[in-house]
C-alpha cells in the first residue's frame, strides 16, 4: 500500500517524541520504587502511561479514568460530516491494562492531598503516589458567556468534549430542515484545538452540500484571525462556494449573550442571529481536578516548568495536555502526546534523582476540508531562554494541486490510526 511509507514516517515522528528523550536514561528505573499515578486517560494521560512503561517496564503505573471507552475529539468533526461512524471514535483500555501492565482504575479523581501525596477518588478510595501526572483536558467556563450554562448546552451543544454532546449535535444537524441556518459561536484564544471550529464548519458543509444544499453556516468569532485562515477560506470557497460565512471580531462576530430557548446569539454591537442549529464553543479552562489540586493560576490554566511540565505551584505534580500553559504549543492531541513522552522521561529522571533530559516536542495539526482535501500545520519546539519556543514549522502551501490535498487528507487518516494505535492499541 502506498500509505505504508507515510505510516512508517509518522510512526517514526511519534516515536521520536518519546525516543529522543529516552536517550541517556537508566533502563532499570523501577528499582527506584516509584509509584506514578496519572489522572485522565485521554491523549496526554494514556500516552504518558504507555511511555512510562515503555521506558521503565517494571514501574508501578496507575491510570485513573472514569470512562470505559474514550471518545476522541480528533475526527469527531468527520463523524458530524458523515465520513465516519460514532463507534470509530471509541477506544478502550484493555491493552493498557493487559499486555502493557498499567493499573487502570475506573474512577473520577475528586481531590489531591498534596501533603500526603494521595489522590482521592469519588468513591472514597485513596491512591498514593510518588509522582502525579494530571492530563484532565478542559472544562467549559459556564460563567463566561451570558445565557450559556450546562442546561443551555443541552439545547445548544458545544460538542467540544467528544461523547453525548457530539451525538446531540449530530442529531440536531440531521434533523435540521434544508435551508436551516447552522450557527457556530467561537471563543477567543486560548482554547482546545485552534483549527477545530473551522474544520467543523467544512465538515458540516460537506454534509449540507449533499443533504441540505440550501442551508448556510455562519461562524461568529470572538477573534479577528485564526489558524490556517487563508487555507481554510480558500478551501471553503473552492469546495462549498458561499455556504460558509465567517464573521470576525471587527465585523461584529463576538457573541456576548445566547438565548437557548430562542436559539439566538447576540453580538457586541447588538446583531441578533437566530439559528436552526446552534453550536456554542464557550471559553474554557483546565479540567476541574487541576483546580482541586491548586495547580491553576488566575487564568484557569496550569503554569508549568517548561523543561518537565512539573507544576510551578505544587512540586511532584506534572500537568500535560490541554490543561497546561504550553504556548506557543497549541492545545492539540498531537502536542498532548508529545508532552506525555517528554514528561514521562522527566518523571523517571526525577525518581532516579537525575536531571531531566533536554526536551523536543513536535506537533502537526491536520484539518479536513473535504474527504479528499486536507491541510496541515506543523511545528517543532525546544527550550530557549528557559521558555518553550517554536524552532521550525511548516504549513501547507496555498498554491497546490489536488494531488497534495489528497495526500494530506490521507496523512490525516494515517495520523489518526497511528496515534490511536500507539496510545490505546496493542
Amino acid at each position: 500500500m502506498s500509505a505504508d511509507p507515510v505510516r512508517r514516517r509518522l510512526l517514526g515522528a511519534l516515536g521520536a517524541s518519546i525516543g529522543l528523550t529516552a536517550a541517556g536514561l537508566p533502563i532499570q528505573l523501577s528499582a527506584a520504587g516509584g509509584r506514578v499515578v496519572i489522572v485522565g486517560g485521554g491523549f496526554g494521560g494514556a500516552a504518558a502511561a504507555r511511555a512510562l512503561r515503555q521506558l521503565s517496564p517494571g514501574l508501578d503505573v496507575t491510570l485513573i479514568e472514569p470512562s470505559a471507552v474514550f471518545r476522541t475529539c480528533p475526527f469527531s468533526n468527520l463523524y458530524l460530516g458523515g465520513l465516519r461512524d460514532y463507534g470509530s471514535l471509541g477506544h478502550h483500555y484493555g491493552y493498557l491494562q493487559g499486555p502493557h501492565g498499567i493499573r487502570v482504575v475506573r474512577a473520577t479523581a475528586v481531590d489531591v492531598d498534596v501533603e500526603r501525596r494521595r489522590v482521592h477518588l469519588h468513591d472514597g478510595g485513596r491512591v498514593p503516589y510518588d509522582r502525579l501526572i494530571l492530563s484532565p483536558g478542559i472544562d467549559m467556563r459556564w460563567d463566561a458567556l451570558e445565557g450559556y450554562d450546562e442546561a443551555a448546552a443541552q439545547r445548544l451543544p458545544h460538542a467540544w468534549k467528544a461523547g453525548a454532546q457530539t451525538r446531540l449535535l449530530h442529531r440536531q444537524l440531521r434533523a435540521m430542515d434544508d435551508g436551516g441556518l447552522f450557527v457556530m459561536v467561537i471563543p477567543d484564544n486560548p482554547y482546545r484545538c485552534p483549527p477545530g471550529p473551522y474544520e467543523r464548519a467544512a465538515m458540516v458543509a460537506h454534509y449540507c452540500k449533499r443533504h441540505k444544499p440550501k442551508s448556510k453556516i455562519l461562524l461568529l468569532d470572538a477573534k479577528d484571525g485564526f489558524s490556517k485562515q487563508a487555507l481554510f477560506e480558500q478551501g471553503w470557497r473552492d469546495v462549498y462556494g458561499d455556504m460558509i460565512e465567517w464573521v470576525g471580531f471587527s465585523a461584529d462576530g463576538q457573541v456576548l449573550r445566547v438565548d437557548a430557548d430562542e436559539r439566538l446569539a447576540e453580538t457586541a454591537f447588538g446583531e441578533r442571529h437566530r439559528a436552526a442549529v446552534m453550536n456554542v464553543i464557550p471559553p474554557q479552562q483546565a479540567g476541574r481536578i487541576a483546580r482541586q489540586a491548586r495547580v491553576t493560576d488566575s487564568s484557569g490554566w496550569v503554569p508549568v516548568k517548561p523543561e518537565t511540565f512539573e507544576s510551578r505551584q505544587v512540586p511532584g505534580i506534572y500537568v500535560i495536555g490541554d490543561a497546561a500553559v504550553a504556548a506557543p504549543m497549541p492545545k492539540s492531541a498531537f502536542c498532548a502526546h508529545a508532552q506525555a513522552g517528554v514528561t514521562a522521561a522527566a518523571v523517571l529522571a526525577s525518581l532516579a534523582n537525575r536531571p531531566p533530559p533536554s526536551p523536543v516536542w513536535l506537533n502537526t495539526c491536520y484539518s479536513l476540508i473535504a474527504p479528499d482535501y486536507g491541510i496541515s500545520i506543523s511545528g517543532q519546539y525546544r527550550l530557549r531562554d528557559n521558555a518553550i519556543a517554536e524552532v521550525t514549522g511548516g504549513i501547507s502551501p496555498l498554491e497546490a494541486g489536488p494531488g497534495l490535498r489528497q495526500r494530506e487528507a490521507d496523512h490525516a487518516r494515517d495520523w489518526y490510526h497511528v496515534m490511536t494505535t500507539a496510545i490505546w492499541g496493542a
Binding site: 477567543d188 484564544n189 486560548p190 485552534p194 483549527p195 477573534k223 479577528d224 484571525g225 485564526f226 489558524s227 485562515q229 487563508a230 477560506e233 471580531f249 471587527s250 461584529d252 457586541a268 454591537f269 447588538g270 493560576d297 488566575s298 487564568s299 503554569p303 500553559v325 504556548a327 506557543p328 504549543m329 497549541p330 506537533n363 495539526c365 500545520i377 511545528g379 521558555a387 518553550i388 517554536e390 514549522g393 504549513i395
Partner: protein, 266 residues
C-alpha cells in the same frame, strides 16, 4: 533584552573585581525607567492601588491583546479620575492609549485591544482630580504561535463605517451603562513592510472623542500600539435624554463620526 543582559554582566564583573558583596540588581520599575512615563508623572509618585487591570498572563497572539481597566472612583466633579495612560515599555514606542475623562462617564472603566510586540510589562496610570496618581502593572508573556498565525492584516483598507452599541435605555439616577465602539482601520504602525519590501507608511487614527449634547465627555489619543480596527468600550452615566456623538480622526485628516440617541429611564 540583549543590551540589558550585557549591562547585568558588566555590573556583576564590577562587583567581583571590587570584592563588594552586592545583590543582583533589580530592574528599575517601568514607571521610573521609561522617559515618556516620567514626563507624564512630572514628579508624582504613583500609588499601586485603586486601579485594577485585566490582561492575559500569556497571549498567544500579540496583535490583539484584550485589556480591561477599572479605576475605583465615584466620578463626581471633585472626586474623579481625570486622565488615564497605558504604556507598553517593550514596544518600539511605549505609548499605547491616552484618555481624558469627564465625571459624566460615571465610572472609570474601559476595555480595549492592544498590540504587544514581545513579552513585557504593561503599565496603566490614572490621575485623580486631587493630583494623586494610581497605577497597576502586569507582565504579559507573548508566545506568538505559528499555529495561530493569521492572514496578514490588510494594509490599504480605507477607514470603514464605525460600529457603536449604546444601552437603550440607560438606567436612571446616574446609573451607568456600557458604550462600545469600533471602527475599521488598519492602524498601520509604520514598522511593517509591504509585499514589495518597502516599509508601509504609518497611518493611524490619532484622535477619538465622545461628546454628549455638544460637550466632550471622553477624549482619547490612540497610538500605534492600539490594535487594527480599534475597539474601545467605556461607561456613560447620562442624567437625561440627549445625543451622543463619537468622532474618529486619522492622521491623513480623514474623519468619521457616529451619532446615537441617548435615552434615560424615567
Amino acid at each position: 533584552m540583549r543590551v540589558r543582559a550585557r549591562g547585568w554582566l558588566c555590573l556583576f564583573l564590577a562587583c567581583g573585581l571590587a570584592g563588594w558583596s552586592c545583590a543582583a540588581p533589580a530592574d528599575p520599575p517601568v514607571w521610573k525607567a521609561v522617559p515618556e512615563v516620567r514626563d507624564w508623572l512630572n514628579g508624582a509618585e504613583p500609588q499601586f492601588e485603586h486601579l485594577h487591570l485585566d490582561l492575559p498572563l500569556v497571549s498567544e497572539e500579540g496583535m490583539s491583546v484584550p485589556l480591561a481597566i477599572d479605576v475605583t472612583s465615584a466620578m463626581t466633579p471633585d472626586d474623579s479620575i481625570v486622565a488615564i495612560r497605558v504604556f507598553a515599555a517593550g514596544n518600539p514606542q511605549p505609548e499605547v492609549l491616552d484618555l481624558t475623562l469627564d465625571p459624566r462617564l460615571g465610572r472609570a472603566v474601559f476595555e480595549t485591544r492592544i498590540r504587544l510586540d514581545e513579552s513585557q510589562t504593561v503599565l496603566v496610570l490614572a490621575r485623580h482630580s486631587d493630583g494623586r496618581v494610581f497605577a497597576a502593572e502586569q507582565a504579559v508573556r507573548v508566545a506568538n504561535s505559528g499555529c495561530l498565525a493569521r492572514s496578514e492584516e490588510a494594509f490599504d483598507a480605507p477607514m470603514g463605517e464605525p460600529r457603536v452599541a449604546v444601552p437603550d435605555p440607560f438606567p436612571a439616577d446616574r446609573g451607568h451603562g456600557e458604550v462600545r465602539s469600533l471602527i475599521l482601520h488598519p492602524m498601520e504602525t509604520g514598522f511593517r513592510e509591504g509585499p514589495d519590501g518597502e516599509p508601509l507608511p504609518r497611518r493611524i487614527i490619532e484622535d477619538f472623542s465622545v461628546s454628549l449634547d455638544g460637550e466632550i465627555v471622553l477624549a482619547a489619543r490612540f497610538h500605534a500600539a492600539m490594535s487594527a480596527n480599534p475597539y474601545l468600550a467605556f461607561r456613560l452615566a447620562p442624567e437625561q435624554d440627549g445625543e451622543l456623538v463619537l468622532r474618529w480622526l486619522d492622521e491623513t485628516g480623514e474623519e468619521r463620526s457616529a451619532t446615537r440617541t441617548v435615552r434615560v429611564v424615567d
